[in-house]
C-alpha cells in the first residue's frame, strides 16, 4: 500500500477498517525502521524496547492527528513524535530513583557559599563580576523550585522527571524555568551586563 504524503492522515482516519488497519501497519513499519536507525548502537535498547516505543508512538500519533498541519512530510512529523516517546522513556529509566527531597536539597545547595567559585568563569575582572552578580541573583531572585529545576537541568536530569517530581505540568515547568532565566538576565542587565556582553564573552 503506497501513500502519498497528503493522504496519510485521511487514511489513518478512514472509516474503512481494512484500509485503516493497513495504514496503521505501514506507519508502524516506518516508525520502527526509523527508531532502529536512530537508536542503533545503544546498549540500553532491546528489540522489546523498539516494539514498545513503536507501539506507543503509533498510539500517540493517532491521538494527535489533528495537530498535523502539513508543513512537513507526515512521516517526518510522526518520527519526531516516536523519537520523543523513546527518548522520554529511556531518560526516565535512568533517573527513576531520584526523589523530590533530593532534587530540592540539591537546588538549595546553589545558595551555599562556595558552590559557585568566584573564578568559575575565569579570573578576568569582568567575568568575576558577572559570577558575583549571578550568584546573588540565584540566591535572592529565584524560588526554591526554580533553583531545584535549574540544578536538575545542570545535572542533565530529564525535564519530564523534573516536571513529575515538582508535581506540575510540562508547560508550567517550562514557564517556571523561563521566568527564572528572565529574572537572572534582568539582574545582570541591571548590573550593566547585557545579553550582547554575554554572547560576546561566550562566542554564542
Amino acid at each position: 500500500m503506497a501513500h502519498t504524503e497528503i493522504d496519510w492522515p485521511a487514511t489513518l482516519r478512514a472509516t474503512d477498517s481494512v484500509e485503516q488497519a493497513a495504514a496503521v501497519r505501514e506507519l508502524r513499519d516506518v516508525l520502527q525502521t526509523g527508531l532502529r536507525v536512530a537508536l542503533n548502537g545503544r546498549s540500553d535498547v532491546s528489540e522489546a524496547h523498539l516494539e514498545d516505543f513503536t507501539q506507543e508512538g503509533v498510539v500517540r500519533i493517532l491521538a494527535r492527528l489533528d495537530q498535523f498541519q502539513g508543513r512537513s512530510k507526515f512521516t517526518t512529523w510522526a518520527q519526531a513524535i516516536a523519537l520523543n516517546v523513546a527518548f522520554t522513556e529511556l531518560r526516565r529509566k535512568r533517573w527513576q530513583d531520584v526523589s523530590l527531597d533530593a532534587l530540592m536539597a540539591d537546588g538549595e545547595r546553589m545558595t551555599e557559599p562556595g558552590m559557585i567559585a568566584d573564578n568559575a568563569l575565569g579570573a578576568d575582572e569582568d567575568r568575576m563580576r558577572l559570577v558575583a552578580v549571578l550568584r546573588q541573583a540565584i540566591e535572592n531572585d529565584l524560588t526554591p523550585k526554580q533553583r531545584a529545576a535549574i540544578m536538575g537541568e545542570l545535572r542533565e536530569m530529564p525535564f519530564d522527571q523534573i516536571v513529575e517530581l515538582l508535581g506540575t505540568s510540562r508547560s508550567a515547568a517550562y514557564k517556571m524555568l523561563h521566568d527564572a532565566r528572565r529574572a537572572l538576565k534582568q539582574r545582570l542587565h541591571e548590573a550593566g551586563i547585557t545579553g550582547a556582553d554575554i554572547q560576546n564573552a561566550f562566542s554564542l
Partner: protein
C-alpha cells in the same frame, strides 16, 4: 543526584550564563518545539530560508539538550532515508 560534587563546575556555570544569553521574552517550549521540529529538520536538510517558526525552533534547540538530542536523532533518520 550526585551530592559528592561540592561546587558547580566551570562548564555548569558557563551553561547557566550561556542560557541567559540565549533567553528571549518569547520562546517555544518543548511541546511547541516538538510540533514544529519536523518542519525545521526538513528545512535544514533542504537549505531553505529561515522563517520565524524555524528560528524559534532553532533557539529552543540551543537551550534544550533533550529536544536537541531528539532533533539529532530525527536528522539521522532523514539522512539515512535520502
Amino acid at each position: 543526584m550526585k551530592q559528592e560534587e561540592e561546587r558547580l563546575t566551570s562548564g555548569q556555570v558557563g551553561s547557566i550564563v550561556k542560557m541567559l544569553g540565549l533567553t528571549t521574552d518569547r520562546e517555544f517550549n518543548c511541546t511547541e518545539c516538538l510540533q514544529n521540529v519536523s518542519e525545521f529538520a526538513e528545512s535544514q536538510l533542504a537549505g531553505k530560508p529561515v522563517t520565524e517558526i524555524i528560528a524559534r525552533v532553532e533557539q529552543h534547540l540551543a537551550l534544550c539538550p533533550e529536544c536537541s538530542e531528539e532533533y539529532d536523532a530525527l536528522r539521522k533518520i532523514l539522512q539515512a532515508g535520502q
